[in-house]
């Protein structure tokens, strides 16, 4: 998937809609002093979560509910000759069964049939009774083998290797000829599985012709629309609900085949049906981060000025396309000559999906590793090399200036916090105690995350003085409920706990999917807009009560008063009560001048590690993450976002890799033990720094996204620290002890 498609998917774009909204420029405003925004507010739903009262999709239980189970192909490629559901349907306790495949299956784990039964055990037994006759077809699982011309074709009549991206500016050959130093290296990233704690799942129930689906999803609106299309029912007759969700990380963005299966079984059986995927399913059929093999050829002058930047990438994403990883190479550094050529190779494994900063995460690992190797070749401080090539405008197609960019501040504050001067001046030059070598590394990120124009939110004032904020967004763990309450409370002069927040329902006002780091920069400005309108109405009421012009009214604390005569004042409560009935204020996230500015988020991460040169073990000792995501809404939850991004990147850098059995196309480690995920023992002190950048062009609060920016530079920061410690770049993640030792051997042999 390329980043544009991902962002469009996460936004839930309908053609023209976003563009039309984008043309309305946001009003210029100054950075105000806030009472709540940017401070720390503990989550308003904390009690529900810590008492176990929070209901996730897995916890939904409806009267008469059946359990659905999906039969998956054990073969990596086969022709389905026949599927016989009758023996399963004949089993007592089985209420329904459907076929889910015809023709060919192209990977082991592809859905074939589904049953619904009174309980899980019965459903499992019934699955075993479904008779499927397969005719095996040739297949290829390993992406390097799939590149051979003689390899079995994964897609009928199409080659396994396909171009996914090509880009160029300037003249790379000329740039390389002008360079004093040319570095050419290949960096690889493996298959990283999302493994959200709550596995994917849905509960579907029909009431007449209205379908209600509880879904573990990052996008209630796109699931609604997808279900309507698949089931051929009006979208108005479908409601999708997601109250709480146990993680998604990009793998739960659109409508899924199991959700359609649960709704189909529910229609067939006339009873609610719950379908939950297994942990194993997470490794086969709901996506993963596609692999990459990126070769960078970079030319630089003696003073560090980049003269050429060439990237060739081979991605692999199973039966789907892999990620375009070029954005960091194209846009982070100023370089007049840049050339990109990317291909993907298809294999008989499940399709990859967007995973937290798709493409950028892989690309930053390659580019930032190569930048450190260029710095070493120039005998230059890697941070100085990055600053030397600092850009203030988009380097890609638009060439527009960034609306704001605080990356320079990130570099300076981050370097100070980690103690950058303590690094080894040359990679591996530090010595150490016994077998342990220490090093410090840096990496940079660029990401989007400006939010989506046209996002809607309502503020409702009730006559009993309760306040409700409603938005059809999702809280996927970022603290969206609390962000909405903070913005509404800030604007209305109330406390966050005074605000009732409603979200996670496709019947509520439209908001984009919670992906692309756009939830807060979409939703918070919409809530702000609605709350400002509510304040405007209250001020008008106060003006009428105090018999002054509305423009003369100021709201301070829980009081309205006249600027011209401060003795004229009305209590907030008295003004509020005068509204008499509940009043709804519609808010919308305004547009941004996208024809004049590039809107991006930035960050610089610094890691300190120790590496055991005898065993290849890596420990991360200290970590500093400096972010420019504009105005922070809630410092407490923003800190958590950064800590999570760093931790996932550290985990991917050192541990995480799905391994496939090439002989069968089934995963070798489809669980949470053999697929190693970082634990508390692996995590050092993590310091997050939010640089002070105000970007009023972006939206009415200057808020930008944070979830993905905090993930992009974390794996390369760890890898570059390892390089600084041992003097050889491992160039492949995860940096398992084996790979670290192989790199050390490479260093010894001087190759």
């Amino acid at each position: 998937m390329n980043t544009k498609e991902y962002m469009a998917e996460a936004r839930g774009d309908t053609p023209g809609q976003a563009a039309a909204a984008a043309s309305k420029p946001a009003p210029e405003i100054k950075a105000p002093e806030y009472r709540l925004i940017g401070k720390s507010t503990s989550r308003i739903d904390g009690r529900e979560v810590v008492t176990g009262a929070a209901k996730y999709t897995h916890d939904v239980k409806l009267r008469g509910m059946l359990i659905g189970k999906i039969l998956r192909s054990p073969r990596a490629a086969a022709e389905i000759v026949s599927i016989d559901l009758a023996p399963a349907l004949a089993m007592p306790g089985v209420a329904g069964a459907i076929k889910l495949a015809e023709g060919k299956v192209r990977y082991a784990g592809q859905q074939v049939a589904a049953v619904a039964a009174v309980d899980e055990r019965t459903a499992e037994k019934a699955l075993a009774l479904v008779k499927v006759e397969y005719k095996s077809l040739p297949y290829v699982v390993d992406w390097e083998k799939a590149r051979d011309a003689s390899a079995p074709q994964v897609r009928d009549g199409k080659p396994n290797v396909e171009k996914i991206n090509e880009y160029g500016r300037g003249d790379v050959e000329k740039g390389l000829a002008e360079a004093d130093v040319v570095v050419e290296k290949t960096y690889r990233t493996g298959f990283e599985v999302h493994n959200p704690t709550e596995t994917h799942g849905s509960v579907a129930a029909w009431d007449g012709d209205h379908l209600t689906v509880y879904d573990s999803t990052q996008n209630v609106h796109s699931v609604r629309d997808g279900l309507a299309r698949a089931l051929k029912v009006p979208a108005a007759n479908v409601t999708v609900i997601k109250n709480y969700m146990g993680g998604g990380f990009g793998s739960k963005l659109g409508v899924n085949d199991y959700t359609i299966a649960s709704a189909t079984l529910a229609r067939q059986t006339e009873r609610p049906v719950k379908v939950l995927l297994s942990r194993r399913d997470n490794a086969v059929c709901v996506g993963y981060r596609p692999s990459s093999s990126q070769t960078y050829k970079i030319g630089a002058k003696k003073d560090g000025t980049l003269t050429a930047l060439q990237l060739t990438n081979m991605a692999s994403g199973g039966i789907g396309a892999g990620d375009d990883v070029s954005e960091p190479a194209v846009d982070i550094y100023k370089c007049p000559n840049c050339k990109v050529f990317e291909e993907t190779v298809y294999t008989n494994t499940g399709a990859s999906r967007a995973m937290r900063a798709p493409g950028h995460t892989q690309g930053a690992f390659g580019l930032e590793g190569a930048m450190d190797e260029v710095a070493a070749a120039l005998d230059m401080d890697p941070l100085e090399l990055r600053k030397k090539n600092y850009s203030t405008r988009n380097q890609g197609d638009t060439g527009l200036p960034y609306s704001s960019k605080g990356l320079d501040k990130c570099y300076d504050l981050g370097a100070r916090a980690i103690g950058w001067e303590r690094r080894n001046r040359r990679p591996g030059a530090g010595g150490g105690t016994g077998p342990w070598r220490r090093g410090i590394g840096v990496a940079t990120s660029i990401w989007f995350g400006a939010g989506v124009p046209g996002t809607l939110a309502d503020v409702v004032l009730y006559p009993d003085m309760s306040v409700e904020v409603i938005c059809g967004t999702q809280d996927i763990g970022c603290g969206t409920r609390t962000h909405m309450a903070v913005v509404a409370a800030e604007t209305l002069g109330l406390d966050p706990k005074d605000i009732t927040v409603k979200l996670g329902n496709s019947d509520y006002p439209w908001a984009p999917g919670s992906g692309g780091s756009q939830t807060t920069p979409s939703v918070a400005p919409a809530v702000r807009d609605a709350a400002l309108k509510a304040v405007g109405r209250l001020m008008a009421v106060a003006a009428a009560q105090l018999k002054v012009e509305a423009a003369d009214i100021v709201m301070t604390g829980r009081k309205f008063s006249a600027k011209s005569d401060p003795a004229k004042a009305a209590a907030f409560a008295d003004v509020y009560r005068a509204l008499r009935r509940e009043t709804v204020f519609h808010g919308e996230r305004g547009g941004m001048p996208m024809d004049q500015f590039a809107f991006n988020t930035f960050g610089a991460h610094f890691a300190e590690v120790e590496v055991n040169i005898e065993t290849g073990q890596v420990h991360v000792l200290k970590y500093v993450a400096a972010q420019d995501s504009g105005q922070v809404v809630n410092k407490l939850t923003a800190d958590s976002q950064v800590i999570g991004g760093v931790t996932q990147g550290l985990s991917a850098a050192l541990f995480e890799e799905r391994v496939m059995d090439d002989a069968t196309g089934n995963p070798v480690n489809p669980n949470m033990r053999d697929y190693k995920i970082a634990t508390a023992l692996d995590i050092p002190e993590i310091i997050s720094i939010f640089v002070d950048v105000f970007d009023p062009r972006c939206n009415n609060l200057g808020v930008k996204g944070l979830g993905e920016p905090a993930r992009v530079p974390s794996s390369p920061a760890v890898a570059n620290a390892v390089y600084n410690a041992i003097g050889v770049h491992v160039r492949e993640i995860p940096m398992t002890p084996k790979r670290v030792l192989e790199a050390l051997k490479r260093k010894e042999s001087g190759s």
């Binding site: 008492t51 709550e198 763990g477 002190e685």
Partner: protein, 207 residues
């Protein structure tokens, strides 16, 4: 912290997989039905082979009696039959700690504990940790320090932490990390979680 249940040996079939598979697996079908209702001799002496058994246990202070299948886990009983959905089924094989509850005060993976093992014993789940409206200090600390993101692993972490602090009232940071290393947080919020447990230890000391 009490030793967590044995993990599966690489490539092998765990005792639990075997037991869970009894209902459907070929091995179970072939071997066990003739034995059901009878007794077999093990190292521990003569033990009955149940198909189903009525067990009595105390859950969050309430006495409960119900008939369970021999291969039913405590987690399935809590979630599906007692509607206590706080403990989560994440890996369903003792790898992540998302289902941690306390059995006689000791944290156990409920997915690795057969329901019949809870017969005559006391089970405490996340739903029973607060005293009325008064949250347990660990729960308070998880809110104050933002010790979670999506919240799915949180009940497991809190139950493990509360039991750990009972035994180790003044833990070092390393002891906290060690104690929580059997619980996975996929959002990666460990740095906040051990901060919360440290804060809870201080609260409990002051209490």
């Amino acid at each position: 912290m009490e030793k967590k249940p044995d993990r599966k040996t690489p490539g092998g079939v765990s005792r639990r997989d075997f037991i869970k598979g009894m209902g459907t697996g070929a091995l179970g079908t072939a071997v066990l039905p003739p034995l059901l209702g009878q007794t077999i001799v093990t190292k521990k002496g003569r033990v009955p082979v149940y198909e189903k058994k009525t067990i009595a246990l105390t859950v969050n202070g309430q006495k409960v009696s119900l008939e369970v299948a021999a291969n039913e886990t405590l987690l399935d009983v809590l979630r599906d039959r007692l509607d206590l959905t706080g403990a989560k089924k994440v890996c369903d094989r003792g790898e992540c700690g998302g289902c941690t509850v306390q059995l006689d005060g000791v944290p156990v993976y409920a997915c690795m504990t057969l329901a019949i093992r809870a017969d005559g014993r006391t089970v405490r789940t996340i739903e029973g940790l607060a005293e009325g409206d008064k949250l347990h200090p660990v729960q308070e600390a998880f809110i104050e320090k933002d010790g979670y993101q999506c919240g799915y692993c949180t009940p497991g972490f809190i139950m493990a932490s509360a039991a750990f602090l009972e035994k180790t009232p003044a833990p070092s940071l390393d002891e906290i990390k060690q104690a929580l290393s059997g619980n996975l947080c996929r959002c990666g919020n460990y740095a906040k979680i051990y901060g919360a447990v440290d804060a809870a230890a201080k609260k409990l000391k002051g209490a």
